[in-house]
Amino acid sequence: MARLAIFTERYTIRSSVELTALTEFRLAAFERGHELDFLFKNELKYLKNYDGILIRALTDPLNTSYVVARTAEMLGKRVLDHSDAIRVCCDKVNMYARLMRADVPLPETRFLAESEVTAVSAAHLFEELGAPLVLKAPNSSFSAYVDKVATPDAFVKVGKRFLRRADRIVVQQYMPSDFDWRVITLAGTVLGVVRYEFAPNQWKLMDRTESGEWAKVVGIDVADASPKLLQVALAAANATGESLYGIDLKEIDGEFYVIEVNDNPTIAAGEEDQGNPGIYAAVISHLAGDG
């Protein structure tokens, strides 16, 4: 029997399907004979009472979630997300640099420091990587601070705006598609696969059309997923660490390109768990150290 806790925050539970997922985690724990409490940020002094902690809250190295991860590690507890995962995935410079180092296929990616965000370097990059280009602030989440630019002027204007958030920005080749693959992995194992189908004529997951259409989440049985998709996703996960990840990929002419590795991937009831009902039990067993 393990004593587990889910660290969560009121304001990060954005929907009832995420709340339902939290109770699914708890049911999975109870069914395996473990205890599971919810822990909020003013209760951190009780972290020491638990064997394993699952973070289901907005992560950032400067948020309480990172304090939870690091404290748990220093106290010798099992924790998801690992602090390394939060530190790497919340900073796109760190994340993409690791993927590039491991030769994971991804859109052409460059990092620019402040002195390099100029119309001249923008013109070079358009020539080299094509137009439009995608600019990303390192610490963007939910596709905020991610913009498409098509001219050197727009490049510099958006780039300077993003530099208010960090001393580097990410420049990426644009890869259009109607959907993203999302592969959820834990310690080198695939736990689930879904397709995020964008709202019509949108290019970012969190965008919706004027009539209010959101992206759709379509569950896929892992056994039916392309082996190449899983192989590229696992290569991306392994380049990043051994934590719980959600890897976003684009499929172009039968090839897969990693768009992002996310720590703390969304697991919402009726969405990410559709084709993969065992996802809750897998996470709980990992945290509890079940053999």
Binding site: K41, N42, N63, Y66, V67, M74, N94, P138, D167
Partner: protein, 211 residues
């Protein structure tokens, strides 16, 4: 000694003196998350260099609740502290916000200041704050450490211990001095440009700007 570029640079540590501690020290002095100083450490890590500090160590030192736990485990005394959102303990207190927007500590000496600042510090309860309780009778010292060294004899031992634990080549350390002991309150940036001649002299014989 001066760096060979304007940017934060890597100082190559003398192997005979530092052994396996690290190959290079990032002397930017400001290792704040996502700044050029932070990225200098990240670049070194990704290049496979053993660097002081690593990005993990930078955050461990600057995120005050993590620093408190790390210090406690290393036997460094810290003030009584807790993470709160609504209920603040009785003043005098030092309050460090835990959020991506501000980390500046605030000294709140009386109930009126606590009432006035509670909502601002927590963004109306949205983010947490690490609160340290101080004895009424206290003084706050700011210690400057260059590779753990300080010219102030009373801080020589604590300086060595702080460097061994947190591994930041340059740090400004806020210490709460009580009638009985020295308590670590927080570690803050000490940008290279703020070093005095005396501070820089501490680096003599420790290594070189070129490997």
């Amino acid at each position: 000694m001066t760096p060979n570029r304007d940017d934060p640079v890597l100082f190559h540590l003398d192997r005979r003196r530092f052994g396996d501690l690290a190959q290079v020290a990032n002397l930017s002095g400001d290792y704040t998350y996502l700044t050029s100083g932070y990225y200098a450490s990240l670049d070194a890590e990704l290049a496979g260099l053993k660097v002081l500090p690593t990005t993990r160590e930078a955050l461990d030192a600057y995120v005050v609740p993590i620093a408190m736990e790390k210090a406690r485990l290393a036997g460094i005394a810290v003030p009584p502290h807790e993470v709160v959102t609504e209920r603040f303990p009785a003043p005098p207190i030092l309050a460090y916000p835990i959020n991506p927007f501000s980390s500046r500590g605030e000294l709140l000496l009386d109930q009126e200041s606590v009432a006035a600042r509670r909502k601002g510090l927590t963004y109306t309860g949205k983010y947490a704050v690490l609160v340290q309780q101080l004895p009424v009778d206290h003084r706050i010292d700011v210690l400057r450490l260059v590779m753990g060294l300080t010219p102030v004899p009373e801080y020589a031992e604590l300086g060595r211990l702080l460097f061994a634990t947190f591994r930041l080549p340059l740090m400004k350390v806020r210490i709460v001095v009580t009638t009985k002991e020295y308590l670590l309150s927080a570690i803050e940036p000490l940008p290279f440009g703020e070093l005095t001649e005396e501070d820089r002299a501490q680096l003599e014989g420790m290594g070189s700007w070129r490997g």
